[in-house]
């Protein structure tokens, strides 16, 4: 048998080697509470207007939701549309009943939110937001006052400063807006007039109407632009169609593609484009499903995805995953955020996990990259 001292020494060596091996093969540092490599998980937030709160989730690579510590977080009065800054450090939320925008700092490690006061004033009833891809400019659509508030965003702190001339007037009762990925053009949908208005965006954030508004189907309610900036898509709620518009990359002008508008289910109310730009999905509130189209990258002509429409009860808002793996669905009655995974090659949607139960029905949702 091994001598006692030698055995102890050998044991120590083995244990130290085991510990060292563990440290070496791990991706994690040995420092306490490390800052996170984002890995495959990302943060998401849902606005709950009835409780004036925002719920926070961590979503793992398989789409499973985990509510973050401290959630739900207190918010402004009737929080609605929300978006996450490309840096993933800030969350912006419109407060529909107090005509403001809230800025929250996001704790990347915990996922918790801390609001930075004061809130910034908008026009009356802010209902939608979009941001330039570099996060330098924020646009808020004010439904009742018929205007667009434009804010410059400070790089380090994410602070909002209203640009000179803001808010800029639009036609009455605008309902949705989308920005071209180039950051040069903004599109605003007016539901009553069934028109899409184009605005040019100056480097300072000034908006100028560009060209003649483009007619779309009746009751347009949502608009999305593909990541390549080639096509704009408008969900026409009153005539159950989607208008597909080609974008002139120089002028931002819109032109209906041949055959547009195309059929959807009943009451299309929200639209999202996959990160590849290859697929679009339209929430059909009346027929309780999601219509999926594959888009020809040259002509913009749509082809129905196999298996479409995909069933879900009363969808009202689709939100694309910036990572291109999922789409998230808010419905009219459910206290859960529903999730579908996207087949990257076919565009087929498969039902995924749903979120933890929320206090009441959420109306806004934002996901970080």
């Amino acid at each position: 048998m091994m001598p006692r001292k030698a055995m102890s020494l050998w044991l120590l060596v083995l244990l130290l080697a085991g510990l060292a091996g563990c440290g070496g093969s791990s991706n994690y540092s040995a420092t306490p509470n490390p800052t996170i490599p984002s890995g495959s998980s990302h943060l998401a937030y849902a606005s709950i207007p009835s409780g004036n709160t925002i719920s926070g989730f961590r979503i793992d690579g398989s789409g499973n939701f985990t509510e973050v510590v401290g959630s739900p977080f207190p918010a402004g009065n009737s929080p609605g549309a929300m978006l996450i800054h490309p840096s993933k450090q800030f969350l912006y939320v419109v407060n529909r009943a107090e005509n403001t925008v809230s800025r929250f700092n996001i704790d990347q490690s915990v996922g918790s939110l801390t609001e930075v006061l004061p809130r910034v004033a908008t026009g009356v009833t802010p209902i939608a937001m979009t941001m330039t891809s570099d996060g330098g400019m924020l646009f808020v659509l004010n439904q009742i006052s018929g205007s667009i508030s434009v804010f410059s965003v400070s790089a380090g702190a994410g602070a909002l400063t209203q640009v000179t001339g803001s808010p800029f007037p639009t036609a009455p009762n605008p309902v949705a807006l989308a920005i071209n990925p180039s950051g040069k053009f903004l599109y605003v949908v007016n539901s009553n007039l069934a028109l899409v208005f184009t605005y040019t965006i100056s480097a300072a954030g000034l908006l100028q109407p560009a060209g003649t508004p483009i007619p779309v189907g009746a009751g347009p309610f949502a608009i999305a632009v593909d990541p390549g900036g080639k096509f704009a898509y408008v969900a026409n709620t009153a005539d159950d169609t989607v208008s597909i518009l080609a974008i002139n990359s120089s002028t931002g002008a819109l032109t209906q593609v041949v055959g547009s508008p195309f059929d959807t289910g009943t009451g299309p109310i929200s639209i999202v484009v996959s990160t590849s730009g290859q697929f679009i999905y339209i929430a059909d509130q009346g027929t309780n499903d999601i219509t999926g189209y594959s888009i020809d990258s040259t002509t913009g002509f749509p082809t129905v995805i196999t298996g479409s429409p995909f069933g879900i009860n009363t969808p009202v808002l689709l939100v694309g995953d910036p990572n291109g793996i999922f789409i998230y669905v808010l419905t009219q009655r459910s206290v859960f955020v529903n999730e579908f995974s996207i087949d990257a090659s076919t565009g087929v949607l498969t039902v995924g996990p749903e979120s933890n139960s929320l206090i009441t029905v959420p109306v806004g949702f934002a996901v970080s990259k």
Partner: protein, 192 residues
């Protein structure tokens, strides 16, 4: 979890392969009645289970009081606390311990049950700090080497701790090392 489990498996296997044959052959005839352990502790906390982006590496302390019923069986009260910049975690557990003794070496395994307490230091609105408290159970063991009649060096103690806080289940790994103090005596030296 794979890396941590591999570590535990490797450590346990090493200990068993080397120590068991020797311990099986002969056991000491004496042992202290009481032992008190205190030392450094590392915890790999499964903080992803409650929404963190990553699991956390925490450092802190581990202490235990051991009452030796006989040469093999003991009752253990195990306390530990580990800390990070936004996280603090504490475990309060009790359970049986089985020990193999030979000369200056001791190998032990134990099963523990008790409470886990995790605290996340964030401020949300007017509330600062969020705490999750729930049950905990653990299984593990370690190796001690006698320094003197009064002191023992705990070379390593490794535990898997399953806890439940913030409504979620955590799978944690704890590794400790330190000093064990002896009090009293049970058994007797074999006659020569």
């Amino acid at each position: 979890m794979t890396i941590e489990l591999a570590l535990i498996r490797k450590t346990a296997l090493s200990l068993l392969l080397i120590l068991i044959p020797g311990f099986a052959a002969a056991q000491n005839g004496v042992a202290p009645r009481w032992e008190v352990f205190a030392g450094y502790s590392y915890l790999r906390l499964d903080s992803q289970s409650f929404g963190f982006a990553d699991n956390a590496n925490l450092n802190g302390w581990n202490a235990a009081g051991i009452f030796n019923i006989n040469l093999k069986w003991s009752a253990t009260l195990d306390l530990s606390g580990q800390y990070g910049s936004q996280l603090k975690t504490f475990n309060y557990m009790i359970g049986p311990q089985y020990t193999w003794r030979r000369d200056k070496s001791k190998f032990f395994v134990h099963g523990l049950i008790g409470k886990a307490q995790d605290r996340v230091d964030i401020t949300v609105g007017t509330k600062s700090g969020f705490q999750g408290v729930g049950r905990a159970f653990a299984g593990g063991g370690g190796y001690d080497w006698d320094w003197s009649p009064r002191f023992t060096f705990r070379v390593v103690q490794a535990d898997y701790i399953n806890s439940n806080s913030f409504g979620q289940t955590q799978n944690n790994i704890r590794i400790s090392t330190g000093v064990v103090f002896h009090f009293g005596q049970i058994g007797h030296h074999p006659r020569l």
